[in-house]
Amino acid sequence: MELVFKWEWLPQLGRGLVLTVELTAACISMGAVLGLLLAIARLYARGPIYWLASAYVHFFRGTPLLVQLFMVHFGLAGWGISFTPLVSGIIAMGLNTAAYQAEYFRGAIQAVKRGQTMAALSLGMTWWQTIRYVILPQALRLVLPAWSNELVYMLKYTSIVYLIGLPDLMGVGRTIASTNFRFFEVYAVVALIYLALVLIITFGLRLVEARIKVPGLGAVRQ
């Protein structure tokens, strides 16, 4: 059993890596904005807005991301609405992570004690000011550990976009592997690059967590 490795693979993989990182950043930020709105809708809205937000969260959490990606890219195209693979990838994964992030935000907002809201309102703050200056600063600190899990999860999950033709890290690896018939070696290198990225993100976010830590506002970590 002989292993083969060529240095020329690395710059190619590097280009794939850039796309992977960009894709992750785009969908995670889209998901954060949408997720926060969904969380607020599920906590404070009544009637149709509440129901729509809940149905959204249940649907996107209960069905495979792969199916969602194909619905957006091929399904809609079949009905005359088509996006480039990059746009489809960002939309599908952004919509998906929004549902998960919504649940983290909701949990964290609920974990902020009720007395905090009462105290803010008793000073004459409006609902929006209360959310903006009292609830969110606490909830965002509480949510960070769960949120960093989600970031790692999405980073890994962007690897499915090669199926709609995007040359991300996984996609480039697949091309190199099948043209050279060196599957084990190439996928092992790809795996290690993902792993390194995951470690960087995880420890980077722990540093952030430590920086913004406030006594008495413990973020629960498993």
């Binding site: 495979p64 619905m71 091929f74 890994k156 690897s159 499915i160 996928y187 795996a191 993902y194």
Partner: protein, 230 residues
């Protein structure tokens, strides 16, 4: 959609259901593998001597840090490259099972630590061996505490079985792609049907696990619901 499209959609459903059966078989296999390997890894992490525990932690990091898709490719095409005659199905169970064992070990480790060392001391003090203590005192409590976070892992791996289409398992998503290949207008409704299958299975699974948790609930031994995506 035309009447013909509708007929095509309905005619595709038996094939989709057949594919779903394959997903469930993979699910069963990978969960079983992940469960037993996960318990072993967790026990090593908590009770084994330092170097061995460190290896177990490295194992967990590796399988949690590498994308499912890459693991599938690595196991299936990697082994094939060295002429190991592995089927896509078995490769799927192994790759996803090992991945799940890492996540499940994290769950079990948390639960074992939540049970606490006082329970171990109490068990040893009545003359049990360490193995007996783990078997009869620690695990019965830890497994109960594991059910809520475990149900997250369950719904996560359930959905991940669709990834196995990428190494050639002819499961439900692959079959949906066949249908799409024949008629593009059917893509959206077909994927919708597949999505609804999974939605139903997710709820069925969570309901079953909820029932399991209630069945084995012991007053005073409550799990703190984690609600995270593992």
């Amino acid at each position: 959609m035309t009447a013909g499209d509708w007929r095509g959609l309905v005619e595709g459903i038996p094939s989709l259901l057949g594919g779903l059966g394959i997903n469930l078989q993979i699910l069963l296999g990978l969960i079983a593998l992940g469960f037993f390997a996960g318990i072993v890894v967790a026990l090593i992490q908590v009770y084994a001597p330092r170097p061995l525990a460190a290896v177990a932690i490295g194992y967990e990091w590796f399988f949690r840090g590498v994308p499912e898709m890459v693991l599938l490719m690595l196991v299936y095409f990697g082994l094939r490259q060295f002429h190991v005659p592995i089927s896509p199905f078995i490769a799927a169970v192994i790759a996803l099972g090992l991945r799940s064992s890492a996540y499940q070990s994290q769950i079990f480790r948390g639960a074992i630590q939540a049970v606490g060392s006082n329970q171990m001391m109490a068990a040893l003090s009545v003359g049990m061996t360490r193995f007996q203590a783990i078997r009869h005192v620690i695990l019965p409590q830890a497994l109960r505490l594991s059910i809520p976070p475990w149900s997250n892992e369950f719904s996560s791996v359930l959905k991940d079985t669709t990834l196995t289409s990428a190494i050639g398992v002819i499961e439900v998503f692959k079959r949906a792609r066949f249908i799409m290949g024949r008629n593009y207008a059917l893509a959206l409704p077909t994927f919708m049907v597949v999505a609804l299958f999974f939605l139903a299975l997710t709820y069925l699974g969570n309901w079953g696990l909820g029932a399991l948790e209630r069945r084995y609930r012991i007053p005073g031994l409550e799990a703190k619901g984690a609600g995270e995506r593992f």
